[in-house]
């Protein structure tokens, strides 16, 4: 099983601890992880802005880095969804996995040595949830489940709660966060507020982009509540 770690561009630059946790977690689980060094971006920022026609260079670079791997695993539901839906290579589309999806469906992880004695608010990011179906969706008449929650169940000490309106969008939305600044911020403020009502210490999710947006709002409010990617919890000793 040849596994490559895909590190989204902004995670590489601003949240290296998320990529480190992903790498360490996979290694702890006995996976030999390759990290292609010339990877950049999945192409989503351009495509979602209406410039899918400009992602050719990006796609080619992705293929150059990731061709030949059985599994391409990344800590971002959003980037993975983009690759799954829009990368020109069928082989790539079929090999990309969001980290929680990979842990649950491929590795079928049944135990973890993690310990995180804190109360956290679980944020189900839309692209992971609705796009990759990592968990059930409140709009649909379906049996409730969550791959993120099932992994958190393996962590000692952690207590996770959902906010009211469990799967409302946080308002990040890629370039939406600046082109529609007012709505984006208002959505983020509302999301943060409903998490804070639960008296949590951390907001935890599967997409660092949503977390970055909520973190920006929390910090501006002077809140002590922090954000963490779920892999940081799953990898926490």
């Amino acid at each position: 099983m040849r596994v490559a770690l895909f590190v989204p561009c902004y995670v590489d630059q601003f949240y290296p601890q998320v990529a480190i946790a992903t790498l360490e977690l996979l290694e702890k689980l006995g996976v030999e992880v390759h990290v292609p060094s010339n990877q950049t971006c999945c192409g989503q920022p351009m495509a979602n802005s209406g410039f899918a026609s400009s992602t050719e260079g990006c796609d080619t670079n992705f293929s150059k880095n990731f061709d030949g791997f059985d599994y391409i695993v990344g800590p971002s539901g959003s980037c993975i969804l983009h690759l799954k839906e829009h990368h020109p290579s069928e082989k790539i589309r079929k090999s990309v996995f969001e980290i929680c999806e990979f842990l649950v469906d491929v590795l079928k992880v049944k135990s973890l040595s993690a310990n995180f004695p804190h109360k956290i608010g679980l944020h189900q990011s839309c692209h992971g949830q609705r796009g990759l179906h990592l968990s059930s969706m409140t709009e649909l008449n379906e049996k409730p489940f969550s791959k993120l929650a099932s992994l958190l169940d393996l962590v000692k000490g952690v207590e996770y709660v959902y906010p009211e309106r469990a799967d409302e969008c946080c308002g990040f939305g890629g370039t939406f966060c600046v082109t529609e600044e007012a709505v984006s911020v208002r959505m983020g403020q509302d999301r943060v507020e409903s998490h804070l009502k639960n008296e949590i210490e951390f907001i935890v999710g599967g997409d660092t982009s949503c977390l970055m947006h909520m973190e920006g709002i929390l910090k501006r409010q002077g809140s002590k509540v922090q954000v963490k990617h779920i892999v940081e919890i799953l990898n926490h000793a």
Partner: protein, 452 residues
């Protein structure tokens, strides 16, 4: 005209009203969730509705002709309008033939789309919208902000003031029951006096030549039953093949729209009563153009329930008028570019692509995917502002070149760490109400290189 982002910013300035608007519509969405989950077959119903609509759209010409023939057999006069102008002229010619000076109209989004009110008013015909919400916005010279709840942007205080001005209700009275009664008394005279009534159409049944109008207030029925002439205006996509298909749609429509099990009135109009004249105007107005576009065809499945409005986190916080179109919300954002690409270039971008709209849609329109496809279509047509296309080209260049990406990332983090004022200022929309993330000393890749 303000674009969506600008109009939303204005709407949100009133934080309290925004909260109220958001919570009111979320309440409707919650009701919809509750009743939809009472039906074990809910998802199967959605699938069936979607397939019936797909099938109908694939055979639309045939069903329209079948409908026309059956409607004519029933004694209904059928008209075809290729666009809004033709629709308005047909309606006007019927009214003039009967010497009509005033008409009562019950809510029809199609006539909003065609701007019929303006057209008729200019010709000297008084149009009275008879739905409570529509009448309120008509008094205020506004357009509906929601296709099912047209005055949802207004609070009862606003309605009290409007009625005080137009109906002479006591100043400061905001009692919903009192105000509704005032509107009722006011409208009664128009119902009794008008010789022409216009209604919309929710479903037209090809098999029988009848059409079905769903309302809660009963005003469509009162208008149509009292007037000598009944004109029903419909987009050609309202067709369904058989009467038995109605069972699927009527169960979905009200549950999706308001969380009711069924609308108070689901009225079947099959033929004119004795002495009455009944007309149907079948309107294209761009629908066949949309039908020919693979990516966007199934937007024509829409049954106008507005579930996508109520669930949309953007709509709830920006208000319907920010969409500057008769049909707002997510569905409006995929319909509007079909009418005018450059005037509506902002709308497909008024979304985070969260996908909730597609999940609530009772006929399974892939709304959020179509938003994405419209973005591509509009940018391909060169409708991006210059700054945007340049920055996209720049981004594409950086991401295609790993060395440049690493360098740019390094420089960027350096700036943020040692000269944060360069990004932490009013020119950066992120920073206006949010802090920037901390810039770490090292990227993951450089950490990884040193680890080995």
């Amino acid at each position: 005209m303000l674009n969506h982002a600008e109009a939303s910013e204005k709407f949100i300035e009133d934080a309290e009203r925004t909260t109220w608007h958001d919570e009111t519509l979320w309440f409707v969405r919650s009701k919809r969730d509750k009743v939809s989950k009472l039906l074990p077959e809910w998802e199967a119903l959605r699938e069936q509705a979607s397939q019936i609509k797909d099938h109908t759209l694939a055979n639309l010409g045939q069903y329209l002709e079948e409908f026309e023939a059956n409607a004519q057999k029933n004694g209904i006069i059928v008209h075809w309008a290729k666009d809004a102008q033709e629709h308005n002229e047909i309606v006007h010619s019927i009214i003039s033939k009967h010497g009509g000076k005033a008409l009562v109209k019950s809510k029809s989004m199609l006539t909003e789309e065609c701007h019929l009110n303006d057209f008729l008013t200019k010709k000297g015909v008084e149009v009275v919208d008879t739905d409570l919400g529509e009448r309120i916005v008509q008094f205020r010279n506004e357009v509906p902000s929601h296709i099912v709840l047209p005055a949802i942007h207004l609070k009862k205080e606003d309605v009290g003031e409007t009625f005080h001005e137009f109906l002479g209700t006591p100043k400061g009275n905001k009692d919903p029951q009192f105000l509704t009664e005032a509107a009722r008394q006011h409208l009664r005279g128009f119902f009794l006096g008008a010789n022409v009534a216009i209604t919309g159409v929710n479903f037209a049944v090809a098999e029988t030549g009848e059409f079905v109008v769903c309302t809660n207030e009963g005003n469509a029925d009162m208008g149509a039953h009292l007037a000598k002439v009944h004109i029903a205006c419909m987009g050609i996509e309202k067709m369904i093949p058989k009467r038995k298909d109605l069972g699927v749609f009527l169960r979905l429509l009200a549950r999706s729209a308001t969380g009711q099990l069924i609308t108070t009135y689901s009225s079947h109009f099959a033929k004119p009563r004795e002495g009455q004249e009944m007309h149907i105007v079948l309107v294209d107005n761009g629908r066949t153009r949309q039908l020919a576009r693979d990516e966007f065809r199934n937007s024509l499945k829409c049954i106008r329930c507005a579930a996508c409005f109520n669930t949309c986190p953007v709509y709830r916080r920006s208000g319907g008028h920010s969409y500057h179109q008769p049909v707002a919300g997510p569905i409006g954002s995929i319909l509007a570019p079909n009418f005018d690409k450059s005037a509506n270039v902002d709308l497909p971008f008024a979304s985070t692509l969260c996908g909730s709209c597609s999940n609530v849609c009772p006929v399974k329109i892939n709304i959020h995917e179509q938003l994405w496809f419209w973005r591509q279509d509009l940018m391909k047509d060169g409708l991006a502002p210059l700054g945007k296309s340049l920055s996209m080209k720049g981004m594409a260049f950086v991401f295609s070149n790993p060395t440049i990406f690493k360098m740019a990332g390094y420089m960027g983090r350096l700036v943020m760490r040692f000269a944060p004022f360069i990004v932490n200022n009013s020119l950066n929309p992120w920073f206006k109400q949010r802090e920037m993330p901390d810039a770490p000393k090292e990227s993951f890749q450089s950490w990884y290189k040193n680890r080995k």
